[in-house]
Amino acid sequence: MREWLGKITVVPKPAVNDPQGIAVLDGLHSLDFEEVRQVRVGKHLDVRLQAESQEQANEQLNVMCERLLANTLIESYEVRVEESDE
């Protein structure tokens, strides 16, 4: 068993309304960051966990996303696994 760091990104799916992204976009425009065309805001989670291998960690993290961390009706997620430095 080793410790791994899962980095999970959960963002609203493209068709889903993202008022938060729209508000941040407006905020950036009003700060004169005119070059920004679109913003979407989601969640980031750092999950430290024990697993036999990187693959196993990856698999577990995907299950966690399906079951708790993301609502797949409105959000899509992405999992990356690194070796934990702690």
Binding site: P19, Q20, A23, V24, D26, G27, S30, L31, V41
Partner: protein, 233 residues
Amino acid sequence: MKIGVVTFPGSNGDTDCMEVLRETPGCEPVLLWHKSVDLEGADALVLPGGFAHGDYLRAGAIARFSPVMREVERFAASGGPVLGICNGFQVLTEAHLLPGALLRNREILFHCAWAHVRVSSTRSPWLAGIPEGSVLRLAVAHGQGKYYADGDTLQTLQERRQVALEYCDADGNLTPKSNHNGSERNIAAVTNESGNVLGMMPHPERSTDPLLGSADGRALFSSVVSALAGVGR
């Protein structure tokens, strides 16, 4: 005495602030729209509660860049009394007019209740008329009200008597239970170094009638009016 209520599109405590100011003797309230760059000669400013720009990202983060905020900063720098209530407090910390930050409550959830606070420093003109050590019963209603600053800052705040209100029980004791949102050192309100800018999480403007639960909040508004009259601004 003209008191400006700085209103952002998502402010929702502006009406309650206008109401109590209208009822405060010697006070003429005026609404200041966030896009305005004219404070209309206000002698003091209130930033009310609400969700200034929807409070996406972080409470108060986007509001800080509204046109009116440059004038608020100038006004504060010149020593004018500024009061940020709840979301107004969050805006003031984001704008670096007050130290620290307001994090999500310890229990994560939005929390609406009545809370007691002890007046621990009366340096601010908003509190100058209230005896130090008084216990006030005030409404609280927020999801991000847990006051945070690093250890050194907290130390300095206390040394310079910038901690204005602390959550306490009905008898004025700073207990863990009364610290409903998990703020550092039970802090409910702080001032800037010179004391003219005050940020507080509780809502004095909602605590203005015994019929509603308490009238203790009125004292802050009458206090600033007397303070300004004394100074003769």
